[in-house]
Symmetry: C3
Subunit: 321 residues, 3 copies
């Protein structure tokens, strides 16, 4: 088990931090989804707040810019009545002087209860979790191409609301899996939840290393990958993480791996289409698919608030004083 | 009637969105001003909050930067006890991938109640209003050179507090009317409120098209335009919207169209001087006029908070579930 | 007495603004520290809020960027239940058009109760305090190399919690005193509190003018400066305020003036090490000193929240309506 996986669980088996879906037990995942279910109605009420984190301080500490993800965490925390601070920092990894850890420890000294952290380096949030005090909880909002656990949990939550039984599903994850923290976190969570058929569909240049070791099957051809699946997850082309330009020819990528009205006919009749957003319209997905009848993309967004409220409430509640 | 004008009124004649002052009925405008009157004392109390929007989510979605206007909406929403998020986005109009509408629909899925939107394109907020659900209200904080309705309403409110009867006034709008959403929105509102004499005073290069069609009279000479008016509204030179440089010679502009202590003698003795801010000192207005005894510029700012509170409370209350 | 020093005290001797530690009476400083003491437990509670500024508006108006200092004021204000706005402005000092004072007066008209202001120009906050109304309080968060009074107060508070009696202490302030508002504010406060031995330790290029006039003694040699002191305060090398590059050779600076495990042996056995942060690791201070057993650097951060809550509550309470 990775250090992130063990750091995040306390001695009583409860969630202390959320760093990765790797090693999260099935019961724990299901209890997060159940808690999220209870928060879902809050977002539909006129008065969308719960007092659970009143007087608590949540800091969104982003060492990588992201308006969209930051917004979901900010909203989730505010609906729990927390005081929320947004800090957009440049990572110090290449500079001298104060390090990212200094920044974190300084903020901890100010009495922060929950840190929501995005960082360009793999494992950064686990590194922070190893250093903070018992009264602080850390929530990984994405560390490099490594993990994005709340996205995987909201995806599982969304699937659960549409499909009776994880033990019976075929799920295709399509696109830039190599640079995708979403893909990695989803494979771990879906495997734990018992999904028997997880397909990783990508061109060779974007295929992850050894998907079989994680219990997934690689497909290099979109048609075979989509055939009769219950769920298809499109992934965003992560231009910003492609240091050597892997994909130059976007029209060719769209032709070979884009989700279109045509290839949606290959899915099971009641299949759903997912995407973590933001979408590149006409690149990895067509508008008519993204906003089509199978699409649950906007449901994922709505569910994301409930799942993040659930995780924040749980990890804030499991700190020790 | 423009689509914006019809979209913003619901089937019972109530304000659903605020997109433009065009087509707003006199009774509706007066009821907004009356509601604003009731919020004015809140800003003078030590405890400046009202619980009307507690648990509601207001998003300031600005596709064009504006610290000042964003601040007034943020303060108004916070004084109504709403949760407020500020999102500064670059408009996607020239980029590929996720569109501005995708951004809006994503935020809508998060459970936003009121969007305050500024956008560089004329008609953008009406376009958004046509797409959102019944539970969402949109407030136009400026769309290109088209409309800025809360500014016009706070101007009307400020005039009403100084002048007995709209049906009796001469009002001069001076300066860069061509690029001014403020001017357009003011003409519509003042006309509806019954102002008989609306003068548009500008050099030819900055004159709007056909002011007569809106019920206003063009003046190309400042002295005639200011003669015996009750109200003069200076406008900011909108450098950022002058794509072909219309005005290069600022000293000449100041000499011919600047509001100075000298030409203020032309107004009626009890005339007031207004400006939507921020002022270019010594360009369209002199400091001694901006802070002089006739000036109500800072009152406009204070009134702006009350008017924005009124509009937000009304449109949030008129959504349908 | 400077104008800042007299402006900040009202006719009844109470704190109206906080602009400088110069001229602050000993009793007033001690009462601030006592108030801070009462706020310290708030930061350790699960529910970290006090309702003292509910419905009040606090604006962090920063004409110079600073994430860290802004964050401490934002947290302090939120824990007092205030509505907080963060405005990052560029100072207009070199531009035309709306001036910084226009910005301030506009915000005042919106009903702001407390301004926390950082500005690159010496004396800027005192200039603002001379212009605002009786219902507005101003808190200086740093004006050029002039003053940073809350830092000096939190330093005094931290010393008081470790040392029995100010009247008995030797304190060394080490480093870039020339560009340091922290150093200036600390000397004033410590002198008033009765510290008999204040040493200013710096290379000639960074020595302040005439420290003797403020009651401090210059040292140009680190070993003599540190000998038997009770408290050492490291200062950050202020690259951003060194307009002529004063220090090019950082390794030489570290060798001659860096705080290291070696030279810490010169201090009294129970001496404490302070630094206002953010630290330049390995330049003015080594990591093992910054996080060593003598270090109270993170305590300073925690205390800073309590001191800022105390000052905000006091100046907000002393406004006149």
């Amino acid at each position: 088990m990775s250090s992130a996986a063990s750091l995040q669980i306390d001695s009583e088996g409860r969630l202390r931090h959320l760093l990765t879906t790797e090693g999260l037990g099935k019961d724990l995942i299901l209890s997060i989804l159940e808690t999220a279910e209870s928060f879902l109605p809050v977002g539909k009420r006129q008065i969308k707040s719960a007092p659970l984190l009143r007087g608590h301080t949540v800091v969104n500490l982003f060492f990588e810019p992201s308006t969209r993800t930051r917004t979901t965490f900010e909203l989730a925390a505010k609906r729990l009545s927390a005081d929320v601070l947004n800090l957009q920092m440049e990572s110090s990894s290449k500079s001298k002087g104060e390090t990212d850890l200094d920044t974190l420890l300084t903020l901890q000294a100010m009495g922060v209860d929950v840190f929501v952290i995005r960082h360009p380096d793999k494992g950064a949030t686990a590194g922070f979790a190893a250093e903070v005090g018992n009264e602080v909880a850390i929530l990984n909002a994405g560390d490099g191409a490594n993990a994005h656990p709340t996205q995987a949990l909201l995806d599982a939550f969304t699937i659960q609301r549409h499909k009776a039984d994880f033990g019976n599903l075929s799920i295709a994850i399509v696109g830039d899996v190599l640079h995708s923290r979403v893909a990695h976190s989803n494979i771990h969570a879906l495997k734990t939840l018992g999904v028997p058929d997880i397909r990783i569909v990508a061109p060779e240049a974007l295929m992850m290393e050894a998907p079989e070791q994680l219990g997934a099957t690689p497909y290099y051809d979109l048609a075979s990958g989509l055939k009769d699946v219950d769920v298809v997850m499109g992934l965003r082309l992560q231009h910003e993480r492609m240091h050597e330009k892997k994909i130059n020819d976007l029209p060719a990528y769209h032709r070979d791996f884009g989700l279109t009205r045509d290839n949606m006919r290959l899915l099971k009749p009641d299949a759903i289409v997912m995407h973590p957003g933001p979408i590149n319209r006409g690149v990895e997905i067509d508008s008519e698919v993204a906003y089509g009848e199978r699409s649950v993309i906007l449901e994922q967004v709505r569910n994301g608030i409930a799942v993040r409220m659930a995780v924040m409430a749980m990890i804030a509640g499991n700190r020790q004083y």
